[in-house]
Symmetry: C2
Subunit: 209 residues, 2 copies
Amino acid sequence: MGAAADLRVASKRNGFVRPRSAVSRLTAERLQELYAGTLALVAEHGYDNLTMDQVAEATRSSKATLYRQWGSKSALVVEALQCVGETELELPDTGTLRGDLLSMVERAEGQEHDADMLAAIMHAVRQDKELAEAVRAQILEPGRDRIREVVARAVERGEVAADCPGLVFVDYVFIAPIVLHHLLEGEEPSQDFLRRYVDGALLPALGIH
Amino acid sequence: MGAAADLRVASKRNGFVRPRSAVSRLTAERLQELYAGTLALVAEHGYDNLTMDQVAEATRSSKATLYRQWGSKSALVVEALQCVGETELELPDTGTLRGDLLSMVERAEGQEHDADMLAAIMHAVRQDKELAEAVRAQILEPGRDRIREVVARAVERGEVAADCPGLVFVDYVFIAPIVLHHLLEGEEPSQDFLRRYVDGALLPALGIH
């Protein structure tokens, strides 16, 4: 755990995580594969429920190796989150806030994996601060930055008032249907639902009707 | 939203759920205690992570008894959700939508247990339909009914336009900070945050500025 924490600090400083010596025997490709496999298992089984045995079997590793190299499930998942970076999506720039938001929810569709992952890890992050920080830094903050940036541009264009009280809550309102729809309705939101949500909830919360 | 509050409504609506015959050897009091203990463990450990051994130990039952009477963890938790009711909370009726919403978020504060429970069960409900239905019927739908009722009254009073497109999304916007704040910020929302959210996001989404 201590070494993992050191690694995390190092990774924050240096960008891509430098594998520790014990890990360095694995090729970068193999490591990437192992991390991706781990995160897929988290999404499938739930973080709490996932065992190192399952990780070992699915990634064709030995459990002893996993423990020697990462020390704990938490450390392995934290590193997996840090290393498997999402491919940088270009921020939409359609010229209107509505166009940008519709473009963003279009991309949200088909990203059930993210919703799965958040659901799978939601309880664990309430109890494991390190895990929570990794989830925030790797999954949540980049998403919040994107929505804030799109809205900031709308403020610059004069589409949204600079003192609009909804500005500080727009990330909550944006994320809500993506994370909550499955919980409330038993399925992921449709594209049609998300588009109506932009017009019916998100834009009005920013004073646009 | 408040599962506790919602459970009260649910218990009123459905009447106390009649225990199955196999369970009827336990007194109603003992059963209530066992169900409450089970739900507390779900919130603490996460549904996925919870074992029948833990339930047996915490509720001073034998594991064999638990399996004989409920058959599975899922069935036990589903029945616990259906049976643990509390005294009903009256729906606020302050005469304005803002007053009613502020009154509702006031009650939401201090109900971290409910947010814990939803987080604990969020992954499992994606895979267990019966569990999902129990969570929806006992926790989520009563909460959604409450917010819809408060807003319907505001429409009757003319505070909100009957064709306001935000009406169908108000439950998402209402629930968002309660379920998402801990995930995004690492702690439950403060009363001050929730009050500002009502004015800054919820009322504007209903066309009130």
